[in-house]
């Protein structure tokens, strides 16, 4: 297994002889995670359920994999003998056994001595067997505190607040036989159970012939062209040059593939030929619909009218998208802030009949970005956190999305975090 691969969390409970604990608040996805482990396992799976009905479990399992075969055993709280015997027999059969939940099994066992000794009995009964036990804990009993010391692995599921939105995440707190991943894993339940693809910070894959971006509803190409004039995407926490450039260039390629014309405005620190070459590779061929323009406010003496003329020297007419690196304007914004504000306030018409669009990208720390924020119809944020790209429309407020970049499949997919 590749170290800390995307599916690392669902692999941990499958280790032979392992007792794994999955914990988290109600509704976070513990059942779905456990079912994902069952489906990932090449062995049979016995799911012991005290609360959730069989139909509900099977329904969740079928969302993850239509052909899942899981044996569900319903149990009633009370004497844990039958549950224990079921666990033991399934382990002898080399199965993955899911106990849902520890708290239900231990309900009524009040004496701490009994709790600890029964936990130890369960733990010892798993050891040396080729099956493994995954225990779901609701955290409502004394057993749920004590099991943490007895388990071989602890997997915590929680909500993490990101950009005024929430992302479900998995944190591996303990893994006796392996190093613990330093970063959380993010997942969604919208299509069963899916762990999101991380994006390496220094993404070096040269992707060619990309597929159309699977965009969120609010960022559809035609909708944006007709509804908005100026959209600012602020590159926030963790978004470096490599990730930021990849994102911009891929978006440009996406518009080109949709038949739009692009004026791609860059700063003096970038090379136009190189940028054009990158975008042609993403598109799969050269195209006259792309014009790369290097902004140089110094060459027009920081004059707003002359700068405006220079910035509109590319494609004109309908279905034109101006993609602007806000860094390109920074010199102007610093040297002549009033002139820059005048330029920004006049450059893009607030016209509902305009079929043009200006997409601006840059760090929120830039002076130019602060001016652009005042005039943008829409403001979005892109951040890079714990190895993952997150995207959200801040103005007007929209849901949080994870940006999955898959170099092998040549796809960029916006997955709503829910």
């Amino acid at each position: 297994m590749e170290l800390f691969s995307k599916n690392w969390p669902v692999q941990i409970p499958l280790k032979a002889g392992y007792v794994s604990l999955v914990e988290g608040n109600a509704g976070i996805g513990k059942t779905s995670f456990s079912l994902a482990c069952c489906i990932e396992s090449k062995k049979d799976c016995t799911y012991i359920s005290y609360a959730e009905p069989e139909t509900s479990i099977l329904s969740k399992a079928s969302l993850i994999s239509p052909s899942s075969k899981i044996k569900i055993v319903r149990m009633m709280t009370g004497d844990p003998s039958r549950a224990f015997s079921t666990i033991l027999n399934a382990l002898e059969n080399s199965e993955l056994v899911v106990l849902d939940s520890l708290d239900a099994m231990f309900y009524g066992i009040r004496d701490e001595k009994d709790v600890r000794s029964f936990l130890q009995l369960i733990y010892n009964s798993v050891k040396g067997k080729s099956g493994s036990l995954l225990i779901i804990s609701e955290g409502t009993s004394s057993a749920s505190a004590q099991i943490r010391f007895v388990s071989d692995a602890i997997i915590q599921m929680s909500d993490e607040k990101i950009m005024d939105g929430k992302a479900r995440c998995i944190t591996v707190l303990k893994d006796r036989d392996s190093p613990v991943p330093p970063d959380p894993f993010y997942f969604t339940l919208s299509n069963g159970f899916m762990i999101n693809e991380p994006l390496p910070q220094y993404f070096s894959s040269s992707i060619k012939n990309v597929n159309a971006i699977a965009r969120p509803q609010e960022a559809g190409i035609d909708m944006q062209l007709t509804k908005w004039n100026r959209i600012l995407t602020v590159f926030g926490e963790g978004v470096g040059h490599v990730v930021g450039s990849l994102f911009r260039e891929w978006v440009a390629a996406d518009y080109l593939l949709a038949g739009k014309r692009i004026n791609y405005i860059i700063s003096k620190i970038e090379y136009g030929d190189e940028i054009a070459s990158n975008i042609y590779e993403l598109v799969g061929s050269k195209t006259e619909n792309l014009k790369v323009i290097t902004a140089d406010a110094n060459s027009v003496d920081f004059d707003p009218l002359r700068y405006s003329a220079a910035m509109t020297s590319g494609h004109a007419g309908d279905n034109v998208v101006n993609m602007v690196d806000v860094l390109a304007d920074e010199e102007f914004a610093v040297v002549n802030p009033q002139g820059y504000e005048k330029f920004v306030s006049h450059i893009t018409p607030r016209s509902s009949s305009s079929k043009n669009l200006t997409l601006l990208y840059g760090s929120g720390d830039l002076n130019a970005a602060k001016v652009q924020q005042k005039y943008a119809d829409v403001e979005r944020r892109l951040i890079y956190k714990s190895g993952h790209l997150f995207w959200k429309t801040m103005k007007p407020p929209g849901p949080l999305y994870h940006v999955d970049v898959n170099a092998e499949k040549r796809t960029m997919t916006f997955t709503r975090m829910m």
């Binding site: 224990f84 015997s85 009994d114 009995l121 010892n124």
Partner: protein, 95 residues
């Protein structure tokens, strides 16, 4: 003989109870429902009893087995020197 069997059954139960009443109950339940073994008829297949204990307790089986044997040996004044449950029952002529 019957009295001796019942005494051994009680001693097995008592030994298991030292690991917790819950543990004793779940172990006896599993022995009965999976192996058709009750404390009263363990002597009819002591080897199966030990294998079952190994399945349940894993590496701790020998500790539990010794605890059972020490109780039985103590009751009947026998010398337990880790000969194991099967051999001990032979000494008691219960096999």
């Amino acid at each position: 003989m019957e009295g001796r069997k019942n005494t051994v059954a009680k001693l097995i139960s008592d030994a298991l109870a030292e690991y917790g009443e819950i543990n004793k109950n779940v172990v006896l339940w599993h022995l009965e429902h999976t192996y058709n073994l009750k404390p009263e008829n363990v002597q009819s297949n002591p080897e199966l009893f030990i294998r079952a204990l190994h399945t349940i307790f894993g590496d701790f089986e020998s500790i539990v087995e010794d605890a059972i044997c020490e109780k039985i040996a103590g009751e009947y004044g026998l010398n337990y020197h880790n000969q194991g449950f099967v051999a001990l029952l032979k000494e008691l002529n219960l096999e």
